[in-house]
């Protein structure tokens, strides 16, 4: 393993009919990257290509200095010879083997004798707090236990690259909370590269050091969680992090949106920018407000939903926008779909950042 470059260096290109995955991806040793995107974006395709369950159409895949797949050079290492571990969405624990033998399966295939493999499996189960469940068959395990056995099975081969496919999706909400915390510990301890595929932004934010947002086969945004949540660049990401997002052309603090509407922001820019603000920054008034807020416009209520302790109001008008109000304020305003209101956003609560 060279300290100079990333552990995983890949450009995944897979053609499947009209769909094309085209995803550059690098992961450093010990780094956890979350591949986040809507259904059908190509997350699972990317994971299968990395695992060797699907060949690349073009591009390359190098792991720990070894070329695993490079169509142009006819290089191909089959799945069973790749230094990888995979936690599948439904875990896919072998139903005929108990927990211990499931975990020992990988080490056994990679050259350990039966005794050594079982010993290593027992160690991993102990680390997962599953020692007393070692003799149980998968169907006798709870969802959370099965998830941990699957993680132990993937880690027991000491993979250079750990792949997790929606590792928490099969769990109920309560179990997910506990399991997520434990998974975080184990991922932090894993010295190799980790790629987490998920459509749940919370999983990605809690577990990953860096996010790669994928839409329609392409990475649309990548970076640390804090950057992405503060400065979304697509509607999908904006929805994920709960921000109103617009694109326009800035001249100083004034931004003219693509449909002609103008907003005043707290940041100064010149050129193409994104403008983002949270729904909580939007205030609603029965009449046109006087005084300070410079961004005011008439709007119509399109929908009302519960959102945590507040109500989230969808507004139509010159721009589509979501606003959060307290139930008390909503009662006072007598909000109902179809009702006209005035919306106001303080310039100081909006952020503008370059689009290019």
């Amino acid at each position: 393993m060279s300290a100079a470059g990333p552990l995983l260096d890949a450009h995944l290109v897979v053609d499947r009919g009209s769909f094309r995955l085209d995803l550059p991806l690098t992961i450093d040793p010990g780094e956890v990257v979350a591949l986040l995107g809507p259904n059908g974006a190509g997350k699972t395709t990317a994971l299968r290509a990395l695992a060797g369950l699907l060949p690349l159409s073009a591009g390359h895949l190098t792991l720990a200095g070894r070329e695993l797949d490079h169509p142009d050079r006819r290089a191909w290492i089959p799945t069973e010879h790749r230094p990888i571990g995979v936690v599948f969405q439904e875990y896919l624990l072998f139903p005929h083997l108990n927990a211990l033998d499931n975990v020992a399966f990988g080490p056994r295939r990679r050259g350990l004798d039966r005794q050594q493999a079982r010993q290593r499996a027992a160690d991993w189960l102990a680390r997962m707090g599953l020692t007393e469940h070692a003799r149980r068959k998968p169907r006798q395990l709870s969802g959370g236990q099965a998830q941990r056995v699957a993680l132990a099975r993937a880690l027991a081969v000491e993979p250079a690259l750990l792949l997790l496919d929606e590792p928490l999706a099969a769990l109920d909400a309560r179990t997910r909370l506990d399991t997520r915390a434990q998974l975080h510990q184990h991922l932090t301890a894993h010295p190799g590269a980790t790629l987490l595929v998920t459509h749940d932004p919370l999983d990605a934010l809690v577990l990953a050091d860096r996010l790669v947002i994928i839409e329609d086969g392409h990475a649309v945004q990548a970076g640390p969680a804090a950057t992405i949540t503060a400065q979304p660049r697509t509607d999908y990401v904006a929805r994920l992090v709960g921000l109103n997002l617009y694109r326009g052309r800035a001249t100083g603090q004034r931004v003219r949106l693509t449909d002609g509407f103008g907003l005043t922001t707290g940041d100064r820019h010149d050129g193409e920018v994104f403008v983002a603000f949270p729904p909580s920054a939007v205030a609603l008034h029965p009449r046109q407000p006087d005084g300070s807020p410079r961004n005011t416009w008439p709007a119509t209520i399109a929908g009302v939903q519960r959102h945590g302790d507040n109500l989230r109001i969808q507004l139509s008008g010159p721009i589509e926008v979501a606003a959060d109000v307290t139930p008390a304020a909503a009662a006072q305003l007598r909000l109902a779909p179809g009702q006209p209101v005035w919306a106001a956003v303080k310039a100081a609560e909006t952020r503008a950042y370059p689009a290019a």
Binding site: V86, L92, H96, L97, G106, V157
Partner: protein, 253 residues
Amino acid sequence: MALLLPAALGLLFLVLPLVGLLVRAPWSTLPQRLTEPAVLTALRLSMQTATLATLLCLALGVPLAWLLARVRFPGRRVVRALVTVPLVLPPVVGGVALLLVFGRRGLVGSWLDATFGITLPFTTTAVVLAEAFVAMPFLIIAVEGALRGADTRYEEAAATLGAGRWTTFTHVTLPLVAPGVAAGAVLCWARALGEFGATITFAGNYPGRTQTMPVAVYLALETDLEAAIVLSLILLTVSVVILASLRDRWTGG
């Protein structure tokens, strides 16, 4: 009601012949007939050859079923059709075909005779071959069905853990489809046990060497009806026991 009557008639039609066997059985002399050396010899030979035929079917049929279920290749439909031919072929025709291939003057048989001095007809090996020929489709169909029903993602999981094709097959795929293989093997064994037409044609009839139970039944029928009934009762009992165990264990009643 319109369906009930033909249904009842259908059941009667299937059950009545078995009742006939029971009614006509020589119950008073049954114990001594059952322990006649000739009966025991035929029974033992039938059990042995059916078991050997089943093992042969497992060794050849499971890989063939895997090929049909998991490997895409041109002409797969044709191969599948060919595999099921012995199901619809009259067993006697199968026996004649076996003679033409493995007989002393057959395509393979003449070579075996000239090269190794081996002739298959009229040997116990011939009985096993005849039984395997007619019984193998039962095994292949059962195993192929089980393989198609099995989740291939487990095989992918095995590959990510470092298992090659063969290890995956033996350590993951086979255990997953074990119930299907077992059910197929039992059906195969039962079919082999009842095999008559191909056996008498290809292997002939000689007590202790090629005279299996069904052949003994047929020959006894010519002269000694009661003996034929006794032999048939034994075969019927074995079949019922096998089918009962099959239903309980593998098809969930």
